[in-house]
Amino acid sequence: MTKVVDRSPLNFYERTYLPALMEGFKITARHFARSVQGKNTATDLGDGYYPEVPWRVAEGYRGAPYLVSDQDGATKCVSCQLCEFICPPKAIKITPPGPEGQGADRPNAEKMPREFEINMLRCIFCGLCQEVCPEEAIFLQQHYSLTGLNREEMIYNKEKLLKLGGVHPGIQKWKHKLEEARDQESFPVKVD
């Protein structure tokens, strides 16, 4: 539906800025008066002031992106580096396992990142990494108060990200593929 906004030229009175001034004053004065009586956003929400009472974020809030583990506690990320590629401010830096690197900590997934770093100073919480991740391994969670005493502290490594991210149950496709393969006894070449 198109909404037509009235753009007719201002009349003389309006061009003196007086109505705008008056309107502005009315609004500000109203809020001011309210505040003087001790009412404000915090009292409206009814739960006090920020540092003592942390702000309750809405569902779907895009806070800090963290890596998650599956229900077996295994790292879900397979180091496909799509998030690193999509990340607009280049906040993500992944070190792939390389030929000698450690395999994934669950069977069949073959690989996982050797190191996974998100620079929270760079991250703009856009959520593209979560959107692009084919393994549902990274989620923007509800943390919004990220602090550190220096820049290095604000670069979260894999260990920290996994710890903060917690468990996020999923369909465990690698596990199912392995089970499916094991069921195919008729296959002439032995699996495993």
């Binding site: 496909c80 030929p99 593929k177």
Partner: protein
């Protein structure tokens, strides 16, 4: 380009090419009747080639221009039609409007259904019409892709091919968004060790047999084949055999999917991050064209780059894997003067003063045939200026029947043409050694060689008054150098090499040098300029053009004419 540049026989009038007129998507086009096949023999032009000439790319998996045709993947199916012939007159039947009547090919038992032909193996005939963008062709492609994906694991997230995978690309361009296949997939062996350098994932293989044909027909090592039947078809090595010939990694390049992957590159970096730089392989005199894949100043892989005049589409494994030394931690990174850390200004200043005062014949230069032609040229100018004896070091190996050359220096011809060395490389090294022994030669300049390994042993080196060394990695010569100038690997600079057959080829810079290291030509240029030997250029292009104008063999060559594939000069 002047005639001196090319060794190709003077162009005789080419034999008239017989052309056939066909239609591609309704457009008339004349295509040659015969075209060279993978061995260069003239064979009838195929539909796929005709479509390519009409700028209609036909998707294909098993077809590779440098391999024999197999026609097994069916990806290249294209709908076509042929002129209707009157059996009596043997003349084409005409429509009412006067155009030739075309019969679209259909299934014989089901005349409503169009029947495609595999474009890679079907020759064209006069008057033929090809429909590479018709709805029927599209449908055929969709169907082929659907069946290829039936048992495909969709491992893309952990597949090294992702990003340069033809299955991914064609699925996006020609495939369907959803699979109708709901049954469990056939699972095949994963991460199979085929040989020292190759890993095979059988689930991802689409059985195009490119790898089989390559190793049998190109590498001449019949190591691979298909075992089992039906949807259990798998690629495997012959029992007890390893897939380990020196060309095995080429199959990783030609495998259209991620079935064959390189152990060296495995899980190292996603390909879409790699910056591609055109360069050359430095491991032998063939000078294979390569593409360097690097990211953020780290080299990740070498891949062959097509060049008909040199290496076709291939390169050997030993050359391909000869890169990790460039990133070695013990690279020379610090300019040193008599063992003390110094800087370029000081070192070059002192060397200039020293060389200016050196008497004629008291200086000798040993320059590696792994330096670029420009650097060798500058060293030669330096030698002329100070009256120095020069030579290079020979590196011999065994040649093979495909690419590897017995000369393991990438630029022996450069050393010869610039006058650093005689036809027989290394012939003057004994006289240099004698000169040192007799005390006549007081200053030795060494570029990129460990001279203790070629006739000037450590004791003799100790007698040299001033030893000026530039190298990349530490060795016995750099250890005793009075002036140590850290140089660059070819991936860190620009320049040219002249291969054993006299092809001048250029390479570009992929990564930044480490520490103090600078391209040798840069500081050599400073040195020769301050000594008044050569001047008048500030870039590698200028230097090359100046060299070409002075070295007789390079007459007429210019940097801008080298292109990506180089030019031949008489050697």
């Amino acid at each position: 380009m002047s005639n001196a540049v090319t060794t190709a026989p003077a162009p005789t009038a080419p034999p008239p090419v017989e052309k056939i007129r066909i239609k591609v998507d309704g457009r008339d086009i004349d295509v040659p009747k015969l075209m060279p096949d993978w061995q260069g023999k003239l064979v009838p032009t195929t539909m796929l080639q005709a479509c390519q000439m009409a700028a209609q790319e036909v998707p294909h998996y098993c077809y590779h221009p440098r391999l024999p045709i197999a026609g097994n993947c069916r990806m290249c199916l294209v709908e076509f039609g042929t002129p209707v012939m009157d059996p009596a007159t043997k003349k084409p039947v005409l429509n009412e409007d006067g155009s030739t009547k075309i019969a679209r090919s259909v299934l014989p038992y089901e005349p409503q259904t169009p029947r495609g032909a595999i474009a890679c193996a079907t020759p064209i005939s006069p008057g033929m019409e090809l429909y590479p963008s018709s709805p029927a062709t599209k449908q055929m492609r969709e169907a082929v892709l659907e069946s290829l994906l039936i048992n495909h694991p969709l491992d893309c997230t952990i597949c090294d091919q992702a990003g340069e995978c033809k299955l991914q690309e064609y699925s996006v361009q020609h495939g369907q968004a959803q699979s109708r296949f709901v049954e469990p997939k056939v699972h095949k062996p994963k991460a199979v060790d085929l040989g020292p350098r190759i890993v095979l994932d059988d689930e991802r293989c689409i059985l195009c047999t490119r790898c089989v044909r390559f190793t049998r027909d190109i590498a001449g090592d019949d190591a691979l084949g298909i075992v089992n039947r039906g949807s259990y078809n798998t690629i495997a090595t012959a029992p007890g055999k390893q897939f380990d010939n020196n060309y095995s990694l080429n199959t990783v390049d030609i495998c259209p999917v991620g079935a064959l992957t390189s152990k060296d590159f495995r899980f190292k970096m996603r390909v879409w991050f790699l910056k591609e730089t055109k360069s050359l392989c430095t491991s032998c005199g063939t000078g294979c064209n390569i593409t360097i894949g690097s990211r953020e100043n780290v080299l990740h892989r070498f891949e062959p780059r097509d060049n008909d005049a040199v290496n076709g589409s291939w390169m050997c494994d030993s050359g391909r894997l000869n890169y990790p030394w460039i990133g070695r931690a013990d690279r020379l990174q610090q300019v040193q003067v008599r063992g003390q850390a110094s800087d370029w200004g000081t070192a070059l200043g002192e060397i200039t003063t020293h060389l200016r005062n050196a008497s004629d014949g008291s200086v000798a230069i040993i320059a590696s045939a792994r330096q670029t032609t420009e650097e060798l040229y500058l060293l030669r100018q330096l030698a002329v200026r100070v009256g120095a004896l020069t030579d290079s070091v020979e590196r011999e190996g065994e040649a093979d029947r495909l690419l590897v050359h017995s000369d393991r220096n990438p630029n022996s011809q450069g050393a010869r043409l610039t006058g650093i060395a005689y036809t027989e490389i290394g012939i003057s090294i004994p006289s240099i050694a004698d000169g040192i022994r007799s005390g006549k030669i007081k200053t030795l300049i060494v570029f990129g060689e460990d001279v203790t390994k070629c006739g000037i042993d450590a004791g003799l080196l100790g007698k040299v008054g001033t030893l000026i060394v530039s190298d990349i990695l530490p060795n016995a010569t750099t250890a005793v150098a009075h002036y140590l100038l850290p140089g660059c690997a070819h991936a860190e600079k620009r320049g040219t090499f002249i291969n054993a057959k006299g092809r001048v080829q250029k390479f570009l810079k992929a990564v930044e040098p480490k520490g103090d290291a600078r391209p040798e030509w840069e500081f050599l240029a400073e040195l020769t300029k301050s000594l008044g030997a050569v001047d008048g250029f500030s870039t590698i292009e200028g230097l090359f053009n100046r060299m070409a104008s002075e070295v007789p063999a390079l007459a007429g060559v210019e940097w801008s004419k080298l292109g990506d594939h180089g030019v031949n000069v008489p050697v």
